[in-house]
């Protein structure tokens, strides 16, 4: 390959991972999926209009398709693979499973990251705060109803308040 390549190291889910000889135009989404074996973040629009590729970059939810991977070498990157411990589910993940918030599931990993991020910053969001926080995550299957329900369930469990 005669592309313009560079090697660098990313810090993903508390691990330093080497990226060898990668084209510098690669998005963080591509590098996670195709080079680092973490396909949890999904690509569905390549322009930040669907949220399927949401990851945490220094604690903020961003679209990994819009992050130039080679320029994110100083960032703390967290992906859906870091949520739960890999075996047991987080409360948000469990709520998604139980509430019917998953159909085809393509938007799900991005939503899980977005909801975890919301609840970290705002443990007791109002209905409208939930909707606004998730307004960048397109779901084509569910119509969002079961997703909102899942968030309510997760909030109730996390705060010990029944809603």
């Amino acid at each position: 390959m005669s592309l313009e390549n560079q090697s660098y190291t990313l810090r993903v889910n508390n691990k330093s991972l080497d990226v060898q000889d990668a084209w510098i135009g690669e998005s963080l989404l591509y590098v996670l999926r195709e080079r680092l074996g973490m396909p949890g973040a999904k690509g569905a629009c390549e322009q930040g209009e669907c949220g399927s590729c949401t990851v945490l970059l220094d604690g903020e939810a961003v679209c990994s398709c819009l992050v130039l991977a080679a320029a994110a070498t100083d960032a703390d990157i967290r992906t859906v693979e870091s949520i739960g411990d890999g075996q047991t589910l987080s409360d948000v993940q469990q709520a998604f499973v139980e509430s019917g918030a998953v159909q085809c599931g393509f938007c799900t990993p991005g939503l899980i990251v977005a909801v975890e991020n919301l609840l970290t910053h705002n443990p007791r969001p109002t209905e409208m705060q939930v909707k606004e926080a998730l307004s960048g995550n397109i779901c084509r299957c569910t119509g969002y109803g079961r997703i909102f329900d899942a968030v309510s369930v997760a909030v109730a469990r996390r705060t010990g308040v029944s809603q």
Partner: protein, 754 residues
Amino acid sequence: MSVKTRTRRDILGTSALRPDAVPKVQGKFAFSSDLWAENMLWGATLRSPHAYARIVSIDTTAAWKIDGVECVLTHEDVPGKPTYGLIASDQPVLARDFVRYMGEPVVLVAGDHPETCRRALAAIKVEYEVLEPLVDPEKSIDLSVPPIHPDGNLIRRQQIIRGDQSLIGEVVVEGNYELGMQDQAFLGTEAALALPDPGGTGVELYVATQWLHEDRGQIAACLNLPEDKVRLVLGGVGGAFGAREDISLQVHSCLLALRTSRPVKMQYSRQESFFGHVHRHPARIWMRHHATKDGRLLRVEARVVMDGGAYASTSSAVLINAVTHVQGPYKCEHATVDGYAVRTNNPPCGAMRGFGVVQACFAHEGQMDKLALACGISPVDIRLINAMETGDRLITGQTILNSAPVAQCIRETAEIPMPPNMTNDTDVLAIPGGSGLTATPSKIRRGIGWGVSIKNLMYSEGFDDFSTARCTVEDGRVSLKFATSEVGQGFVTLAPQIARTVLGLDEVFIETIDTGIGSAGSTSASRQTWMSGGAVNGACKLVATNIIAEVAKMRGLDPSTLQIQGTDIVDLSGNAVESVVAATKGKRFSETYEFHHQPTGELDENGQGDCHTAFAFVAHRAVVDVDPDLGLVKVVQIATAQDVGRVLNPLSLLGQVEGGIAQGLGLAVMEEIIVENGRVRNPSFTDYLLPTALDAPDVIARYVEVPDPYAPLGAKGVGEPPCISVTPAIVAAIRDATGVDLLRVPVRPQDICL
């Protein structure tokens, strides 16, 4: 997929959870786009920039010279049949002489990196003689333009002539309705991984599709391979909604893999996906309704024109659905209908959730509201007066034998409480314009609208529609094998529910979904619960019979005195003879069952015939808030009562209902592929707008459970009805709020306020 499913309580009628939900929330579920193979290449497609052009020459020399490019293919490299298609084989695998729509595939490349492929595509020189595209469907009907395809410009015409052709009602209303082109916009774009057999003797394809066997047949023909040398495995499917019924990259990825002798992965970008699959047919529908002055519908006249785009796909079947549903769920004895599906140089159209009925329903529900107005009765009463019942005849002459609780759907919807009125405290995000702060709350108007629909289930017009399933019980454990595509709808949840219920065993595994068993038909037409559900039910019942026979033989009992109840085999007095787990210990039972629905017939030239299998019904009531000055709309609430036969999984059902409603909302107020002179102007999620979390309405759903005598589980398909009449209901609500006679969807702001 082999997933251990849950406990006893997950039988039919319960909200059993999806077995694949756990890997999906963890990001571990393997969608087609997640697949990877050692030594894999990436495939990419060069597409036509023109809606209609003659190909003068194709020069791939420069692409071959790029480092990392392994293969460049044109139409000359297709070893078998040069065309494919679902009903008519009219679409070239790669364009040869002409390109007939913007985005038609012309050249394929395989390279070591997506960016390498992109540069290779840019280096290919295709010389076109650009031609004037045929974009007006009327010109395809009047034959005023030379054929753009050897099969001609008219894909199909179908008339329906029934009853008194000169009847004029005391009340006559008419309207011209138009629907824009909607996209299925599944989130997981087209993706596949093709693995060539050594020596190029065959290929294995992991692909996101709705119908593995149909794909296999078309792929094998184009590759010139026997069908048994083409093995398809379902890759994880990120939604479908009809767009995966036609093949897209299936033949292409196999061609590249066989030529390079290396695994090839193809994955469309969102932009390419807009060009890579068929869309919902845009349609123009004229209707004239004749009724008595007290609102009884007597005669429907209609002219339906559906733009099929450049290739036939399922256009002929979509047309039949449209013309046979123009009366809606209402009694009507007399009809004069003329329908056309035509070829143009617009993007090809085919299957999308609702399949022709969406278009007809938008028009007939607009007409019912006009009729209500003309007769001075309410939108609810006009629909109740005319509501269809079991035993009524359609305008095709077919008698409805299914349960048909239309009036009950309407009444139960009407009983659902209205949402509270907007107040000064209403969050700005919940009013039209949202965070754009466009609205002045005092100027917002509320409207209410109704939509009711009838939808045929399964395939029509004599197609031998069947599904196959195998049930194997070994040591108290069930495994199920079928080729039913799981696209998100939840058959992988339902099938184990059926097995647990029939067999009294808790542990159910689903084997890999592939072509290693007979066809299941497509995951479309609201058919898999009925068809593959019927097949799984049939296979499980055969196995249950064998288990009972074995127990009877061992114990010297008459098998007709035994049955499975709960987890036990019981005798006539209900006493447990043995648990099913114990009865199957150390034994293996396996049966395959093929479920066929009742045969259907063709339509004659007057559109008469029993062409459909079964029907489902639904009512929707929409409440909207509108900013009349800006033409912005917020859908507040959708109330619905749906005829489902029997609820098999309440949670899955609600997901289908809410999801379908969101798609119908999209068509009503925002979703449209904009095509200008054959050119798609908005192939991206920036400009093709899908409903977000802030656009979703509150949905309140009720289910009307009248078990269908013909359905193997008593349950009707539930996938399509939610998205059909919700669109006209929303538009009716906007009309109610504004007084503007809106006859086109999606409703654009300027349609309301200018």
